[in-house]
């Protein structure tokens, strides 16, 4: 199955040096910057991005052009790049940062010009020192070449970029937590409104965009928003990076046009499940997403179709589980992540994720009790009342409600397995429920 390359075009063609300025320029790099700064107005660039229909690639899928339209007029204003990729199953931004840092830097400069920002920050998770080194070298090269700094390409526009390294907190991928972190505070999400576009970094108007989103901007400026919008389904425009992992023969990042089926993605691109084993289920969009089962293999990979089927494409992480997977252990592993990464501000999340983690652990270790199933569902209901999709919120940010997705998924699709694990508890078999 042939898929067009937009984001990965340059890195695929220049395997060993795609990170260098020389290689990037030879592939036409920074031509979009020249075009944008020399022959377009900020308004025209914003119009092209809006016309592209690109939706944010960090997880929420909000239209980027619309987000840009919310930016309040006050100055100074900031552009902040979210490179805190940490959702289990997601490793697409890492590839974009390591293999094509100039594409991102060019996207940032054009976007900052379009948004009239004189200062941009790139926030990269602390566990990504290699990607950070690559991006910093790209920033330094771009500055030396006159693409960054004062009066860029004689346009009168000036920009400075600072790379900020995180320090091991998933929650900083939430945009207001990221801003707090960038301000030198604990990475606790803020109540919204006000939204960052009105009061963001240092309470100034701020746009926060994902690495992949901004890496698309040079192509959009070179080829026009309409050309981008023409790729793929109307409400899932453009190509998109998907991270495929778990029990598949060909794990990796795939730049694909949305609109293929899950069967095509997992079997044709991903090579199917190893050793001829059966597919049991998969996570269609990162740890926060409800799981899919094989009856949905012939549904479409688009933002809207996945939403209508009760889950989300989220961060683009697809995690495949085969028939050998113990779903209680798998759900525990996902919930443990949320319990560990809860910032602790909101009680339903702080306490609820910890309860879920401990109850799943004891079921998975032969200590489950018959009442544990109701207990798990009750805790989930307290974190996110009604256990509906999209989840109801009791908390400042979606982290806590996300933790209910794996629990609800195993109860919906694999309840007999969970019951069997509990029944295998010898103490329960003897008629005694401990505790």
């Amino acid at each position: 199955m042939s898929q067009p390359h937009i984001l990965t075009r340059h890195m695929v063609a220049n395997r060993t040096d795609s990170n260098t300025l020389a290689s990037y320029e030879q592939s036409g790099g920074y031509s979009a910057l020249r075009k944008g700064l020399n022959s377009m107005t900020p308004e025209q660039i914003r119009a092209e991005v809006k016309a592209s229909n690109i939706r944010g690639r960090g997880g929420a899928g909000f239209p980027t052009g619309v987000k840009w339209g919310f930016l309040a007029p006050a100055e100074p204003r900031y552009l902040v790049v979210n490179g805190d990729e940490s959702e289990p199953g997601t490793f697409k931004d890492r590839q974009l940062l390591e293999r094509d840092p100039h594409q991102l830097v060019e996207g940032i400069i054009i976007s900052a010009f379009a948004l009239n920002c004189a200062k941009a920050f790139i926030y990269i998770r602390g566990e990504y020192p290699k990607p950070a080194r690559r991006v910093q070298r790209a920033i330094d090269e771009a500055r030396a070449a006159g693409y960054l700094g004062d009066n860029i390409l004689g346009s009168g526009f000036s920009l400075d970029i600072t790379l900020h390294l995180g320090a091991g907190a998933y929650i900083c991928g939430e945009e207001t937590a990221l801003l707090n972190s960038l301000e030198g505070r604990r990475g606790e999400p803020r109540l919204k409104p006000p939204f960052p576009a009105v009061e963001g970094l240092y309470a100034k108007p701020t746009i926060v965009n994902n690495v992949e989103t901004l890496s698309n901007v040079p192509w959009i400026v070179n080829n026009g928003g309409a050309a981008y919008a023409a790729i793929g389904p109307e409400r899932s425009a453009g190509t998109r990076m998907f991270s495929l992992s778990g029990h598949v023969n060909n794990p990796g990042n795939y730049e694909i046009v949305m609109g293929l089926t899950w069967r095509e993605f997992i079997y044709d691109l991903g090579g199917g499940v190893p050793d001829g084993r059966e597919l049991k289920c998969w996570i269609p969009g990162g740890a926060s997403a409800p799981w899919f089962t094989p009856d949905l293999l012939d549904t479409l990979v688009t933002i809207d179709d996945v939403g209508q089927n009760g889950s989300m494409l989220g961060s683009g992480a697809v995690v495949v589980m085969d028939e050998t997977t113990n779903v209680v252990h798998a759900a525990h592993r996902l919930v443990r992540f949320f319990a560990h990464e809860s910032c602790g501000q909101c009680t339903p999340c702080r306490e609820g994720t910890t309860w879920l983690e401990r109850v799943l652990w004891r079921i998975g270790h032969g200590m489950g009790r018959p009442e544990d199933i109701d207990l798990l569902l009750d805790v989930c209901d307290n974190i996110s009342p009604g256990l509906r999709w999209p989840p109801a919120m009791t908390t400042i940010c979606p982290l806590g409600p996300s933790a209910t997705a794996p629990v609800n998924s195993i109860m919906t699709h694999f309840r007999p397995e969970v019951e069997a694990m509990i029944a295998a508890n010898e103490l329960v078999q003897g008629g005694v429920s401990i505790g």
């Binding site: 490793f91 566990e127 992992s245 990042n253």
Partner: protein, 214 residues
């Protein structure tokens, strides 16, 4: 920057680190934002994120040491206790778990004689399980001082520990370790990476911790 309160702290630091701290201070519009980079720098200066390190960062940023500690304690990568020369972080999140990461962790704990979350008696190793390392396509993944190795199977995990013990490199390089102990990658790494880590502080040159291959 001629702030005497800052100078009193920074003049105790190595000249290189002073220079980098001043560059950090110049890079942000508001001083409070320098807390996180300075915590990395101070951790290098003091060996880890000690009480003294947090007091110094407070003096530079104009915060109380308690305010600095409230930030430092939020983030798992600021080590508030001393750690080994090599911090081995084994990813055990969902994709690595599905690919056998628990066996890799057990092998590394056994080979280093260091339980998960602890430091070996000779202070050579700290071993820990971590949440998602962003290497899910190359699961299971292991990092040494945050330099990542992908596709690490239990026996290779053991060999990695033995190699670290035998050779004790001052700079750990991802490419070298991947070639010796790695397997399946999340994506084609393609580009050779000249720099690596010289301590448990992530090897980002602006924070004074990257070493060269040469």
């Amino acid at each position: 920057m001629m702030d005497p309160a800052i100078d009193r702290v920074l003049t105790r630091w190595s000249p290189e680190r002073q220079e980098r701290a001043r560059a950090v201070l110049a890079a942000y519009p508001e001083r409070r934002s320098t807390v996180m980079p300075l915590l990395y720098l101070a951790s290098r200066e003091h060996g880890y994120c000690s009480r003294e390190a947090m007091v110094e960062v407070g003096k530079i940023t104009g915060l109380t040491s308690i305010q600095v500690e409230s930030v430092a304690s939020f983030y798992s990568m600021y080590r508030r206790q001393n750690v080994g020369k090599y911090v081995i972080s084994v990813c055990t999140s969902i994709s690595c778990f599905l690919r056998g990461a628990d066996d890799v962790l057990a092998a590394i704990e056994d080979e280093t004689n260091t339980p998960d979350g602890e430091t070996s008696d000779d202070a050579l190793f700290s071993v820990e399980h971590v949440e998602c390392s962003g290497a899910c396509g190359g699961a299971p993944a292991v990092a040494v001082n945050w330099e990542l190795i992908e596709g690490v199977l239990p026996d290779k995990g053991r060999a990695l520990c033995q190699w670290l013990k035998d050779t004790q490199p001052e700079t750990v390089l991802a490419d070298e370790m991947q070639a010796l102990f790695g397997g399946q990658q999340s994506f084609d790494w393609g580009i050779a990476e000249p720099q690596g880590a010289t301590s448990h502080v992530p090897a980002f040159e602006r924070y004074d911790s990257a070493g060269d291959a040469s």
